[in-house]
Amino acid sequence: MTKSNTDMLDPDDGASHELRNYAIGFGVSLLLTVGAFAALLSHLPTVWKVSAICIAALLQVMTHARNFLHLSLSGRQSREDLLLVMFSTILLAIMAGGTYFIMADLDGRMHDMRDTQDMEGMPAGG
């Protein structure tokens, strides 16, 4: 794949290599998707189900990025793309993760307040 002379590049060789790349990407994605749905339908505890679904999703995103979008650390252009994607992901993690953290925290505090009010307002013996 590093030959610079196009005449020496065997197109069939490259094509079959890249075809295999797509086939692996499809196979792995299919397995991870089926795994996620199977985890949902299983009788595992909820925490296990959620962790299995999250891990499967993360692995599948990585598979898509590598096999379909061709992001990698080697290769000048795909490296630049990957750095852009990773930077965007960090920004997103700060914004989306921060939003979720703040809202979940607020939600917890509001529940506490409501529960206290309910107890205070409850008639004796009720």
Binding site: T2, G14, L30, F37, A57, L92
Partner: protein, 208 residues
Amino acid sequence: MSDNTLYPGLNLGDSHGEAHVGAETTVFGFWVFVMSDLIIFGILFAAYASYLDPLGLAGAPGPKDLFDIRSVAIQTGLLLLGGTAYGGVSLSVKYNCSRARVLGWLAVCAALGAGFLFFEIKDFVSQAGEGGVPQASGWLSSYWALVGLHGVHVSSGIVWIIAMMGQIVWRGIDDAVKIRLSMLGVFWHFLDLVWIGIFSFVFLVPLA
């Protein structure tokens, strides 16, 4: 450094000369757009997760009342197949296959995307019929915004595919068309990637 180190797969390859070099900046610019799109989707994911509690549900129908897991599985399968089918387009262009072959793969992608949209719209209609309309609760607003935005993206992807098929027929596969097909590839695979997040976190996690 040899230009062979450009995109290992979504690139065009040295034999495409000018188009190969031109693809570098143009496609990178398109990646920047796609990443801004990713931020929008990510923020909508955060809103969805925040509304997924009794306050956000506000007594309106919830995930267990509205979601049809079989339909979600069918949509996931169609979109995964559609994303993989774009590999056919990329490779046919890269290895100078016939125009008919590129058109055929594009048609497969568009058909699978349309199949996905069919099931998604069917779900939306039945959910609205069961009282799961966007204005019913904060959670439903975020659900419709996130999944609806993805649906709009897939629709525009299909319009783009049809436009590219027209360009291939009228102009042939010239340099500009090759670069546009590379960008369409990034877009189409990206939609598949966002759907992984949607089926996992929007549909499966709340049902777990």
